[in-house]
Symmetry: C2
């Protein structure tokens, strides 16, 4: 007699975690593997980067989330390959056999072939990234306070954010608040309000995934906060001393000691490994093209979900966006699909239910788009707060984040403004 | 006409910060210099190391603490030397002139000449140390969960703490609670209760700075928590695979993947620099021997306080202990001494007012010693909680820590159990 169906899930992000949770109570032997011991609530990463929240407040140990679900085992490990014939997932230090495999490996920062930009312009995909961005931003003000050369001081107080998607917009709004409110009385030699925040975008508007009227409203809100928006601009060079832009064919230099990359992500490198081992097709970005039931062609036992997957709704040719709700719904879907199949039931194709898109711009200002319409301002901001608190893992984190936000709203302070890391990594 | 008296303070720990605060409202030009941008509440460092608190909850930006005190300028910088003739403090990247200099550089981990032990047995003096200890402890359980060799699994589940002073006792109690309560249901292959916690001490009892009856009570409480206390034991070797002990002349090996150093600290290396530049005398531990007014002999403008100073009460030959209350009182004293001198008033020698010593052993258990007597148990624990909350900087941190402790008491969970740092620093 065979044992319970062995399900191996790679990745404890939204896709993998929601798949594991949806398998609760099933007669299955589930192993969830992640390189980290925690589930990271990525939509709030920018708040760690800007000193509003502590890393521990947006991350919860996977073990703690799943402690009561006895059919799940959590393993700290790194998937490096698979053996599709033997149905074995190969780890850096071992292997795990599977009957069904769910790959939810997520995405990483992507510099469009300019990997040298990573050091001067960190992205924002991991907690370590967020701590690095926080260190850079807070250190820039410290260095400016001690700098006597006006040109260098100006460069320390110039912040450039590349990419005006939701992350770029949220960072720009938060940087403006840090400069104009949080640090207002903290310095003696500089006035933090001298800080310049540039938001640089290749397209012709911010928040291109939102309707034009909401993009325009978001742009106006950012400008009121003092953010300088530069659209239709291409970044041609980034180094430790600034960025070079190409504006309508002309080159322009911005001296800045703090450049943040929010311009793009690429799927996990596991896509390429999968292509090699199974012949899976990748799209131009490197995402794995999956069937309508999110399996690999020819491998009905291998599912790919979340940011790693190129999936489309039935009848559509546009791939679904790499956002948390898609990953969550796909996680729940594949859990259901595996169980249905074991019962001999047929599985209908995956279809994404878009409940809307939200982005926050700053204090009491956000945009909300529901497809059939949308709005901006205070109500969108409150909706954003509510939705993010609801999906944050762990009651304790929810309460702490709620309190932090309350404090910040009332006092304009940011509770998590310490610079950690090696002492001599400055400058 | 000369400008205001220039006071330079090196170090934003208890000594330096309390000196700066005590100068509030004075007509002085104060520069507070620290390598970090925050004041660290060191007595709670072990709670960060054991996943109870987040780093940001026990650290507050010096700038934020002092933002309203307009006569203080906070500088991020590292003091490397002084020029006592020109009255200049030399930084790694610049210099600052002073009229009065307050050196409050603190202490660092000290391995008694065995610096190679630092990598396998991290100490607990900085936030980075605390994160490293947390990473090691939590990773040990993760590795044990995946380990199939019983001997290796046993080594992963063996924890050795070297040194049974307050920090060692607090760590041992917290480790026991992690193994027996916090992680109880989190694993599938191991039972965290199998974990062994050794507390190793060279003296004949734990908490040697407390009276014998309280030491005995603390020892019993630890044993009830499952901690194995090994007194009169010398550590002769520490490596990645365990520790070698010398017990009554015989050698004994304990296989352990997690060894924590809580056996000793040494004063900051700035003491040696001072000895070179000014001829200051150091004691055997490297502390700077100061006059009764905490100045250097021959240099009435240079004060040394806190863990860096060897100071005695009038009529006593015993140096004051390296604890927070001594540093705080010395900080306030030198501020007062500088102001008095400027007014032409005489300064009485520094005298330490010992209000008592506290240590916590575990859940609802502590010891309190007041010199004239003491007690142990629940009341000592509550007193410890109260005193530590009161002295923690920042109202927001106080509330968050209070909530974290409340949660932990009620649910046995620890809210800050994420493993951060470079992914491949495991093992």
């Amino acid at each position: 007699m065979p044992g319970p169906h062995r399900i191996v899930i790679v990745g404890g992000g939204f896709g993998g975690l929601y798949a594991a949770k949806a398998l609760r109570g099933q007669d299955a032997d589930i192993t969830l593997i992640d390189r980290h011991n925690y589930h990271l609530f990525q939509p709030l990463l920018y708040q760690v980067a800007t000193g509003s929240l502590s890393p521990g407040e947006i991350a919860a140990p996977l073990r703690a989330i799943l402690r009561k679900q006895r059919n799940v085992r959590v393993w700290l490990g790194e998937a490096v390959s698979i053996d599709p014939t033997a149905r074995n997932l190969i780890l850096a230090d071992g292997s795990v056999p599977y009957d069904s495999l769910i790959l939810a490996c997520g995405a990483r920062n992507h510099y469009f072939g300019n990997d040298a930009w990573q050091a001067p312009a960190p992205g924002l995909k991991s907690l370590e990234d967020a701590m690095e961005v926080r260190r850079k931003v807070l250190y820039a003000f410290e260095a400016a306070e001690r700098e006597t050369d006006p040109a260098l001081r100006h460069a320390w107080l110039t912040f450039v954010i590349v990419g005006a998607g939701p992350t770029g917009v949220e960072l720009a709004g938060a940087f403006a608040e840090i400069a104009h409110d949080t640090l207002r009385s903290d310095f003696r030699s500089i006035n933090p309000e001298e800080a310049q925040i540039f938001l640089v975008e290749y397209a012709d508007r911010v928040l291109t995934t939102f309707p034009e009227n909401l993009s325009a409203a978001a742009g106006k809100s950012l400008e009121r906060l003092g953010v300088r928006i530069r659209t239709k601009v291409k970044v041609t060079e980034i180094d430790q001393e600034g960025v070079t832009l190409s504006v309508a064919g002309a080159s322009e230099r911005v001296d800045s000691r703090t450049v943040i990359w929010a311009a793009g992500v690429a799927p996990s490198a596991f896509g390429e490994i999968l292509a090699k081992c199974t012949g899976a097709q990748l799209d131009r970005q490197g995402r794995v093209i999956v069937e309508s039931d999110l399996t690999l062609a020819g491998h009905p036992e291998i599912f790919v979900i979340g940011d790693l997957a190129h999936s489309t709704d039935p009848g559509s040719a546009t791939p679904l966006p790499g956002v948390a709700p898609v990953a969550m719904q796909q996680g729940a879907y594949v859990a259901h699909a595996i169980v249905s199949r074991l019962r001999g039931q047929t599985v209908t194709p995956f279809r994404y239910h878009n409940k809307g898109n939200l982005a926050v711009i700053g204090r009491a200002s956000g945009v909300a788009d529901f497809g059939w319409g949308g709005f901006h301002g205070l109500v969108a901001w409150l909706l954003w707060l509510f939705v993010h608190l609801m999906f944050l893992a762990g009651f304790q984190n929810r309460l702490l984040v709620f309190l932090r936000w309350g404090f910040q709203y009332l006092t304009f302070s940011r509770g998590a403004r310490i610079i950690t890391g090696e002492a001599n990594r400055h400058a």
